[in-house]
């Protein structure tokens, strides 16, 4: 009885003279190796040389500020509930009088953490965010880490730095990954 269709019959066929000579196979193998010397390389010298990245690439997260530099995030928890990997956690706090220039809404995230070991960069947090606060940058990768403590990204590393507020490039005008994709498809005329 045949248990699987992938079984092979073992043959005890004697080697032919050409196979027993051994040298033709060596020459053939070397030929393959030498052919690869003249082919285009599959690798690049990474830090010096970089591949062009797609505009819809989902890289490292950023917590956006609005046009006047206030944090957009209101700690609504929708990113955390949308996250399939349960990578996001947060603790909310109430904005005190006099802090209106720091936080856009009445409530803000006092602690906002993303566990990069858990994150699968699916971008669902970005889709879920009602305040256009969290984005996965298309031009920045999550760097490698060497200790467990480095893996938890807090607000110190997630919130957009104030210097980038004024540059128009940083304001992606509230576009999500899918919006950017639609834009790109539209621009390329491939639809």
């Amino acid at each position: 009885m045949q248990l699987t269709s992938r079984s092979k019959r073992v043959s005890n066929k004697k080697l032919s003279l050409g196979e027993r000579l051994y040298l033709p196979a060596i020459v053939g193998g070397l030929g393959i190796t030498i052919k690869h010397f003249f082919k285009k390389k599959a690798t690049i010298q990474y830090p010096e040389e970089q591949r062009p990245m797609s505009s819809v690439y989902r890289g490292l997260h950023v917590l956006k500020r609005d046009e006047v530099g206030r944090e957009r995030c209101t700690a609504c928890g929708l990113c955390a509930v949308a996250c399939p990997a349960e990578a996001i956690s947060m603790i909310a706090a109430e904005r005190q009088p006099g802090e209106e220039h720091l936080y856009r809404e009445e409530k803000y995230a006092a602690v906002y953490e993303i566990n990069m070991l858990r994150c699968i960069f699916c971008g669902l947090c970005e889709e879920a965010c009602p305040k256009s606060a969290i984005y996965l940058q298309s031009d920045k990768l999550a760097p490698s880490f060497f200790s467990r403590a480095d893996v938890i990204y807090g607000k110190d590393r997630l919130v957009q730095s104030m210097e980038t507020i004024t540059s128009a490039k940083s304001l992606k005008s509230g576009l999500t990954t899918s919006d950017r994709y639609v834009d790109k498809v539209w621009k390329d005329g491939k639809y």
Binding site: T74, A75, C76, G77, L78, A80, V81, E86, A92, A93, E94, E105, E106, K107, P130, K131
Partner: protein
């Protein structure tokens, strides 16, 4: 007994039953939503018009249909009445209009509001696919009113259902808050700022269908869907002591009454149970609360993670009965 047919389902109900009550007897799938009616509060209902239904046959004696949708919480059942709720497309359209009116002045601050996830207005607008209103004028906004250390009033979110007023009238001996002014400018307030500190005043939080009255001790602590509801009880002299505890990790973040499928609490609880006793050791845990699968509260909850707190003292009682004095393995060797 009167026979009434709601959405094709027939039920016999005693005289004096309203259409809404009859529909609720048939089950939550049939029952029209209600924002102001609260079965435990007398004279509630009739303000919000969310529970409107179409009466396609008035009664056996007078089979003419009623000329316009009626509020089911205030309309009594007649023998042989036929009612359409979700089966009537024009009624669903009419209710959509009602929801839009309720949202006319309601701020869309669900990401901030503590009620989000268990808000009836949110459910209602979600069901009818309404994300905003076509209302172009400025929404009503109010200054924050201080109601004491326990209750947070956000008048901006209020839909004027009067439930909290009826709680104060019917559960507590004195009422300090009420509806001031008329029409578009009417608001819930205490007139002269005064804290509401009656022992049963905390129930206004439970009856509020929106996030206008929220628990100050729970304010911004956690979103509802990150907490785990657990049924518990304690011996309380003033109330039944039957509550739902909302856990995050090992901490009780919030205590509420036990809400049924219609969002109504089974028993009103006192302020001591609600605000003062927030330690696991104050309570006897009955078990995890069953939450509707479709509810956001059950999102991201894996049952194996639901940690029922163990009771060292209860286990300790059993432990005393066990004879655990050290014994030699081989007494004969002594």
């Amino acid at each position: 007994m009167l026979k009434v047919t709601i959405d094709g389902q027939t039920i016999e109900v005693p005289e004096g039953t309203t259409i809404l009550q009859a529909a609720r007897m048939l089950g939550p799938e049939v029952a029209p939503p209600a924002m102001c009616y609260y079965s435990k509060l007398e004279t509630s209902g009739g303000y919000c018009r969310t529970c409107i239904v179409k009466v396609s046959k008035g009664s056996e004696k007078d089979p003419r249909p009623m000329p316009k949708p009626v509020a089911s919480c205030r309309t009594m059942v007649m023998d042989g009445m036929e009612v359409q709720n979700k089966t009537s497309p024009e009624l669903v359209e009419a209710r959509k209009g009602v929801v839009e009116f309720l949202l006319a002045n309601h701020p869309l601050d669900c990401p901030i509001c503590d009620q989000a996830g268990e808000c009836h207005l949110q459910d209602l607008s979600f069901e009818h696919g309404i994300e905003s209103t076509r209302y172009e004028f400025e929404r009503r906004t109010f200054k924050k009113i201080d109601l004491g250390p326990h209750i947070q009033l956000h008048m901006t979110r209020c839909i004027l259902c009067y439930r909290c007023v009826k709680v104060a009238d019917q559960l507590t001996p004195e009422r300090y808050h009420g509806v001031l002014n008329r029409g578009d400018v009417s608001e819930i307030s205490t007139y002269i700022e005064k804290s509401i500190d009656n022992e049963f005043s905390g129930n206004v939080i439970d009856v509020c269908p929106v996030g206008a009255l929220t628990d100050k001790t729970f304010r911004f602590k956690s979103r509802v869907w990150f907490t785990k509801p657990v049924d518990a009880h304690r011996n309380c002299d003033t109330c039944s002591g039957k509550v739902t505890l909302w856990y995050k990790g090992d901490d009780v973040l919030r205590v509420t009454g036990r809400k049924d499928a219609f969002g109504e609490v089974a028993d009103f609880i006192c302020n001591t149970c609600r605000f003062e006793t927030k330690k696991t050791s104050d309570w006897v845990i009955e078990g995890p609360r069953v939450i509707d699968k479709k509810s956001v509260i059950s999102a991201n909850h894996y049952l194996s993670d639901l940690k029922v707190p163990d009771f060292a003292y209860e286990v300790g009682e059993d432990y005393k009965k066990i004879d655990d004095t050290p014994k030699l393995l081989n007494p004969a060797a002594q």
